[in-house]
Symmetry: C2
Subunit: 191 residues, 2 copies
DNA sequence: ACAGAAATCAACACGGCGTTTATTAACAGA
DNA sequence: TCTGTTAATAAACGCCGTGTTGATTTCTGT
């Protein structure tokens, strides 16, 4: 979404995103109509169509923003960090702190009634993160390696989703630490 | 869904499920209208409403059937199997074989454009399976244990989804074996 | 202050929704 | 094979959200 310097545009888009998030806490996206959303925003319906094609178009622009932020906060992990350096912990911690800041929207996008498409995208980002880390200590590749990376990434996102769904009873650092421990020592060591 | 002995009813419902699955291969559920589905089935629109409230009602009845089958095939693992007995392998293998038989529908429900609600339910079933297994060898419980069980379950479902999305290039037994190995030895032993 | 653009309002045709009616066709059980 | 029951059909209904339009007003950046 190309950004603008017109205050009215920023205001309208922010309003729409806020109210969409609010409505999504009580009902599924598919039940939210453009008319209803505009009433909630006290915005003319024609104004909505000036910015977005439909509710899903708006939703995807929100998703893209979250995803971009997630990617950005993980980026240092990819570019920086010498071979074997400890970046899993800080990387996960940064990611979970970022998600915690946007918890309302993330819960709605990743948990019950969320968007599979989006969950898959986040999971793919996480898998590339995992792949990058393991490449630093072992350059072997193979058909089955992809499944293992997927296993780890999906496990992390699964934990993330449970944590979000329970309204984050632990601080993000603790969850990040748990996942780092799992990645380093495996689940068996913890059970 | 209460079953009937009237051939016409069985025929209609089967037709609707078939065509729904067919349509879902090309477009998202939210884009499928009752009108369109009925045209595809060559069925009167009023007939649809005699059986289901809307497209999602139909979808959920399909999901319930799949879930019931999945649960049923996993059930022996819960009830049977003495303490410490090797049931992880056979259990996973049975589950993956069952899912492979219903691959078309499962891919559409679990992968891109799928239903988060349904994925979550399957993941919960898998978590209870995992919890049951680990209880046999270790009865400790704790706040963080739930996260670990979730990690394992989500990892398994993640692998399942990747496998389905790639049109199952490996036999179900091989995937089940891989996951059993991960559960027993951890990912680190394999990397 | 001014030109440009965004937001508003009202109205439009379109199409899917969910329901109803009368009618026809298929069914299960005797 | 007959019979009462019930599912499926066809046609029509009002309703509502959609996406677009044109004219008008309000706000914005410079």
């Amino acid at each position: 979404m190309e950004q603008t310097d017109d205050r009215r545009v920023r205001k309208t888009r922010r309003l729409l995103r806020e109210q969409l998030a609010r409505l999504m806490e009580h009902k599924s996206v598919r039940e939210i109509t453009v008319t209803e959303l505009c009433r909630a925003c006290d915005i003319n319906r024609g104004t909505f169509y000036r910015h977005y094609a439909d509710v899903y178009d708006l939703l995807h622009s929100v998703e893209e923003e979250i995803r971009r932020g997630f990617q950005q906060v993980m980026d240092p992990v990819f570019s920086g960090g010498k071979l074997g350096e400890q970046v899993i912990g800080p990387g996960l911690q940064a990611a979970f702190c970022y998600l915690a800041e946007n918890a309302d929207m993330c819960r709605v996008l990743l948990c019950r009634g969320g968007d599979m498409e989006f969950v898959q995208q986040v999971e793919n980002l996480m898998r590339e993160f995992v792949r990058e880390q393991y490449r630093k200590v072992n350059r072997r590749e193979g058909e089955m390696y992809d499944y293992i990376f997927t296993y780890i990434a999906a496990g992390c996102i699964g934990v993330l989703r449970q944590w979000l769904e329970q309204d984050m009873p632990q601080p993000p650092q603790q969850i990040a630490a748990l996942l780092e421990q799992i990645m380093r020592e495996g689940v068996l060591a913890l059970l």
